[in-house]
């Protein structure tokens, strides 16, 4: 089974083959085993950089090497051969993609020595992915979270990479063509621009490889712990340019078709604040409940950005069990940034906007000029035509919030208005932006709060600007 999953073959062909000779039906070849393999998996693209090393014996003269990858998702344009030793004595003379074999290439290597050398083969493959996910357990009082972060690696590449060092890249890189798409093709014929951008993307990936050296502390920890009970693997995290590299302790074997989930980190007693928000443009027509926390050291976090991933929230139900609270996709959270988890609507908080009164004043008429009327049997009348051109419309609202939960709640309300608007309330409010009023109310458990506010819309001729002006003072 394990052997069957190996789709990559590197053959040292034991005869000097010219281009025409490659069509021969009878070859004799040796198959050098992989010595090491390293996977660098990107979460923003379906892209994995594979770097494998092998030992090969060369003879003086021309040495043909055949590399094939049937039934895999390798990008043939990305395959590179490098010599790790005897560099001055070894050189790739040419690379040939045979016309009749779609997943194969030949290297003609010129050797100035007889002996063994270590080679490295790099290539991109699709089909290996990693994602982050999180599990948050809130205490019964919802004051702290136990936050666990996981990485899940799935291998659908068609190849089993045994004992691979695995590195995960957090961040977005630029690709102009999908690796999975390139894997379908043959010898690449790229437009000049495409080739240039592709090379840049490849260089970005290679740069990450070069700069991301394995963390020595992790290796030492692993050595020290080897005599003790097996512990969850450490995942070392390092920043690099615009990226973060997660290096998984030791090596992993993830056969084709399998997925594996490892704990990235966990943090206990992460302070969390519960807030309700009414922001119709962001959250819809009803207020939602949120957990607010920060990815910083004060919260026991902040060692790494939090990659995109699903977060699932459970809460201690106070009866020796959990309560499922909800889930949401967490977008990338930089170190130090806030984390906002939307838990959805809360049926225990009732939110009603009640119109109380409407009145109009400051009504202006536009005079369109006198019109003269004459009666048939005599008499003249002058009528001055005019129509309403501007007015102020006042609406008094009560924003009623009822809290039937067991704790006092804080609710932040944002309302946006178009046009020339004056907003007045005895409740403190601020402008979130030029057209959005924001206020916060605290509602005790089992209590109800009415925030009365008057909205004056200056319409027609009376409209002089296009923003909201906050006024102070009592409302009617």
């Amino acid at each position: 089974m394990v052997i069957a999953m190996k789709k990559f073959f590197l053959l040292v062909v034991l005869c000097a083959l010219g281009t025409t000779a490659q069509a021969r039906n009878v070859d004799l070849a040796t198959v050098p085993e992989r010595a090491t393999v390293q996977l660098t998996i990107y979460n923003a693209e379906d892209l994995t950089l594979v770097r494998e090393t092998r030992r090969i014996s060369f003879k003086k003269g021309t040495n043909p090497l055949q590399f094939s990858w049937a039934n895999t998702l390798i990008d043939p344009t990305s395959v590179e051969l490098r010599f790790l030793d005897h560099r001055s004595e070894l050189e790739v003379l040419e690379t040939t993609y045979p016309h009749d074999k779609s997943h194969m290439l030949y290297w003609q290597v010129q050797s100035e020595m007889d002996g063994e050398a270590r080679i490295e083969i790099n290539y991109f493959t699709a089909g290996i992915s990693w994602t982050a996910d999180y599990v948050a357990l809130a205490d019964a009082g919802e004051e702290h979270l136990h936050l666990s972060s996981f990485v899940r690696i799935a291998n659908h590449s068609g190849e089993a990479y045994e004992n691979a060092q695995v590195r995960l890249v957090v961040g977005v890189i630029n690709l102009v063509e999908k690796v999975a798409h390139l894997a379908q093709g043959r010898t690449p014929i790229m437009p000049q621009e495409t080739a240039r951008y592709k090379m840049r993307a490849a260089k970005q990936a290679m740069m990450l490889e070069e700069m991301a050296a394995p963390a020595p502390m992790v290796a030492m920890d692993m050595m020290a712990g080897s005599a003790e009970m097996e512990a969850p693997k450490e995942i070392a995290k390092e920043s690099l340019s615009e990226y973060f590299i997660y290096t998984i302790d030791g090596t992993e074997t993830i056969p084709h078709g399998w997925a594996k989930r490892l704990r990235s980190f966990e943090a206990d007693n992460v302070p969390v604040r519960v807030q309700y928000r009414y922001r119709p443009q962001e959250y819809g027509a009803q207020p939602v409940r949120l957990y607010l926390l920060r990815n910083d050291s004060e919260s026991g976090l902040g060692l790494t950005p939090l990659p995109d991933g699903m977060i699932r929230i459970f809460r201690d139900n106070g009866r020796d069990g959990l309560r499922y609270v909800g889930e949401q996709t967490l977008k990338y959270v930089p170190i130090g940034d806030k984390i906002e988890i939307n838990l959805g609507q809360d049926p225990e908080v009732i939110f009603e906007l009640i119109p109380r009164q409407v009145w109009r004043d400051e009504i202006w008429l536009r005079v369109s000029g006198p019109e003269l009327y004459r009666k048939v049997d005599g008499g003249v009348k002058i009528d001055v035509k005019s129509s309403v051109a501007g007015w102020d419309e006042h609406t008094l609202y009560s924003q009623r919030i009822r809290n039937y939960s067991a704790k006092a709640i804080e609710i932040e309300v944002r309302r946006s208005y178009d046009g020339d608007v004056q907003w007045r309330s005895s409740h403190p409010a601020v402008l979130h932006d030029y057209r959005t009023v924001e206020f916060t109310a605290t509602v005790e458990a089992g209590a109800s709060v009415d925030v009365y506010h008057e909205v004056t819309r200056r319409e027609g001729y009376n409209q002089k600007k296009n923003n909201v002006e906050l006024l102070s003072g009592k409302v009617n």
Partner: protein
Amino acid sequence: MRYSVLYLLLATMLWHIPLEALARIKLITLPPRERVEIQLDHARATLVEEERIVPLVQGVNQVDFAWANTQIDPDTLVFRVLGPADEAAGANDIKVLSVSYPPNENALIWNVAAARSGAARVRISYVIGGLDKSFTYRALADKDEKSLQLSQYLRIDNFANEEYGDSGIWAGFGERLQKQIGIGETKQVLLHKYTQVPVTKTYSTNAQTYLDRPKNKLRVPMHYVLRNDQAHGLGLAALPYGKVRIFVDDGKGSSAFIGEDWGQFTPLDDELKLYLGVAQDIVVVRTIDKSEQKHVNGNLYHHEVTLKYEIENFKNEAVILDIHENIRALRDELRGNNGRAVEWELLPTTTLGAADADKSTYDSLVFHADLPARKADSSADKVVHYLRLLLKNEW
């Protein structure tokens, strides 16, 4: 055939054996469930928590969890080690190393390291589909329809293709239940019985729903109105949405079914209105008696409106009729919809009195009209009311 399709297998393996081999060669134990809790409090998801005693050996253990033919969301699975099964045996250091997901199987494998051999108590939580809840109610009104008995039932449909033996069930409120739910079973459980719940039978009318438009006759819907607070015999929790079947005591030791309605989600302190049908014995004719615009200036007008309600009650008892009038809809009917809010004032010659402040909003008013019972000769007095309004600043 009843069978459990969830398996928790324990395989003690050497850590370095490849996963493909692991899936084929197993020495397994089948730890039974010690405790199951089903949490139905979430609006869209059902959480199951099960506790098992898992024997672990020193070193790395493979705990295989499979869920063929069920709708477990594998991404919601949480595995927690609560501690050693036998507290007297002392603490054991147990850690989850990783989780592996084999291809084309509804299964996963927890790799668990134990410092020493011994059984551990673990809890596995997951969200499962097909195990759903709903609520139904049975209302039995007294003969005089002044109070009723409201029975609230929790209904659990188990189409999750998994049998749950003696399980704790939590609906989010009320008592925790302990029940068994077999595969394909539906179980209805009485959650709470509220007795002596005061009920108001209301008759209402609304200009938006005519019974006979050419004759200006309005429909008169009837409702039972319950208030979800403790002063009115309820108020323990919000009442979830559900069908309410309504019966009335016939005074002869039996009851009559008088209809059913969907009870809307009713928060605390709110009213639950149950529609009973249209009253046939109350006749309401609504006429626009006056519609006169008054010139203010230019194209600006006030508009005086008089609505006349002629009401006859042919019932044997006096009732109160709730008259709903939407002022904006009235303005739109008379002047067309100009998109502006309606500004209005109630004129003092209105005979309906003041609008009910609790039930009215700015442009939707509720008035109450007392209607006497029909007379001995079966005739009914015609009660006439006028609602006089001034719509202001219209153009």
